[in-house]
Amino acid sequence: MAKTNMNLPLGKQSDLSSVISFQAGTEWSSEMHLDLNDHLVTHPSATFFLRVNGNSLYHSAIRDNDILIVDRALTPNLNSTIVAVIDGALVIVPYQSLTRCKQQGGSGNQLDGHLMNAEPAVWGVVTYTIHKI
């Protein structure tokens, strides 16, 4: 994953960085900024960003057009919200409703209004949603 470095304004960069390096030595690049990736992404090679479509998970604070952070390395537990593959689409569901539906038998049943032909599969576990205020 690319580093989200917050660089100084481009035109002044060389002048400013020479001033800073005079004051703080060479470590400024690792100490002078926060990287959101460090905070939000535990497994960079297994983490994907998805765009939310629809508002049916409004109560779980997942809203239309949010950016969802999904970690495929995690194993879901009963409190997890997951992205599942349902009838060829990526659908956000509470993991509980998926297990409930699996217990009732694989095919031809319903999951939150979705009629399913194939057994749903876990695609990844939702860890954060980025919502613009």
Binding site: N7, F48, I62, R72, A89, L90
Partner: protein
């Protein structure tokens, strides 16, 4: 001919084992991660310019579609069987490849990235059960983390590891992992007897034909070949393959990540090009692309070569024209590269010819940290360095092509066809995969904003 290489098998204890991790139908598998509708149906991925098949799903294989086939030859098969066609999305494939490599490094840091979809590793031979669990765990982890199915082969040499991975892919009973080193001699022979010579790594079609003509059709027969006789034909390289089949490792893991000696960017044109201006734009674009890779490697180029393919009346033959210049100083600046490339082109361009392909090659590369300075160049160098950094920064953050030199053009008639390319799911904010939050009826109840309307 000797009967068998039996006596030459190395001692088992303490030898490193080679592991090959090979992605199954890699390009198709990448597409399936983000579009699960493609699961279970026949899918093919097309090369640059949508010309031929470069990857196909197992379902498409059943219709006789092979990698390398030109699309126009199988248009009917594709149509009548509703085979899904996609243009190659190399940005996506490279990203998933990088993720897979990263994921595999957790298991073993000694990794050779052999190609975009193949990785060699070495493991020290210990208890068989432990290793067996480890490679199955590896396969499961890559599939869970990245979503791409892989086949894993393990053996005493690279060549045998490659054959084992092939065997793991073909035989469902292996569960995608096959350890040849744990097999009895009988089983080893049985596996090798089922592999035709052209499928052996390092043999290729040419020697394959020659060997078949001499009655050697399987890997088992090649292992027992008269080595002196074969060495006369195939040289040291051929002999090495035979030794590797016998279990004597001749090809070590290449961990060397030294920068490339040469960088080439080239494309076939979507339409034939005759106009000089259009050709200039194409060549300038390739020069800028090569420059970007050059800076990524932290190298400088001294020599630049422009090559153009000329379409002749005979469909089967092609002629080339090339021009090389040596720059006064090694550089990594797009502006220098573009200027040099366009000058080369102007010297070889002929208005009465039809061009089908062109490209730019940078060579005579050196390390950027050992840059020579031109005493007459004053601060110009510094300014250009800064400019390159800004351009690369903008293009990395906002997508390639956000900012570019005017010389690379805006018309781009020459650009390759990629009509059926999937979104850049993992590299562009505007093209992220969509996750649905259930049905519209539920939506209305829960969303107060929509109730207001």
């Amino acid at each position: 001919m000797t009967v068998d290489g039996l006596g030459q098998l190395p001692m088992k204890e303490g030898h490193p084992l080679f592991v090959l991790v090979d992605c199954n139908n890699f390009f198709v598998s990448c597409e399936r991660v983000f579009d699960p509708r493609l699961e279970g149906i026949p899918v093919v991925v097309l090369s640059n310019n949508d010309a031929c098949i470069i990857s196909r799903s197992n379902e498409a294989k059943k219709f006789g579609i092979k990698v390398g086939m030109p699309v126009y030859q199988i248009r009917d098969v594709i149509k009548s069987n509703r085979i899904c066609m996609l243009s190659a999305n190399f940005t996506l494939y490279r990203d998933l490849s990088r993720r897979i490599i990263h994921c595999l490094r957790q298991f073993c840091p000694a990794i050779e990235v052999y190609s975009v979809d193949e990785v060699f590793m070495t493991l020290q031979e210990t208890d068989n059960g432990v290793i067996n669990t480890l490679i199955r765990n590896m396969r499961q982890t890559v599939y869970q983390w990245v979503g791409v199915p892989v086949s894993i082969g393990m053996a005493e040499t690279k060549t045998l590891a490659k054959l084992s991975a092939e065997y793991a892919k073909k035989e469902m009973s292996t569960g995608g992992c096959f350890d040849l080193s744990a097999c009895s001699q009988q089983d080893r022979d049985r596996v090798l007897a089922n592999i035709t010579v052209d499928d052996i790594w390092g043999i290729g079609r040419q020697y394959g034909k020659w060997l078949t003509a001499h009655g050697i059709t399987t890997a088992l027969q090649l292992r027992a070949i008269d080595q002196d006789w074969f060495a006369k034909k195939a040289g040291v390289t051929g002999l090495r393959t035979v030794k590797e089949l016998q279990g004597i490792s001749c090809l070590p893991l290449k961990l060397d990540t030294s920068p490339r000696k040469m960088i080439t960017c080239s494309r076939s044109f979507g339409k034939p090009v005759t106009d000089l201006q259009e050709l200039k734009e194409a060549v300038a674009t390739f020069a800028a692309q090569a420059g970007r890779e050059l800076r990524h490697d932290r190298s400088l180029a001294r020599r630049i070569t422009v090559h153009c393919s000329i379409r002749t009346k005979l469909v089967t033959s092609e002629s080339f024209s090339t021009k090389t210049v040596l720059l006064s100083l090694p550089t990594d600046h797009d502006s220098d590269l573009i200027r040099a490339a366009v000058t080369c082109l102007e010297q070889i361009y002929q208005s009465n010819l039809v061009y089908s392909k062109s490209g730019v090659t940078l060579s005579n590369l050196s390390r950027a940290d050992a840059r020579q300075t031109d005493i007459f160049a004053n601060n110009e160098q510094d300014r250009l360095d800064k400019l390159s950094r800004v351009i690369d920064h903008l293009n990395t953050h906002w997508g390639y092509g956000t900012i570019k030199y005017a010389a690379t053009g805006t018309r781009s008639n020459w650009r390759s066809r990629a009509a059926l390319r999937s979104p850049n799911y993992t590299t562009h904010w505007q093209e992220l995969p969509v996750a649905h939050a259930a049905s519209s009826s539920v939506d209305r109840v829960l969303d107060p904003r929509r109730n207001d309307k």
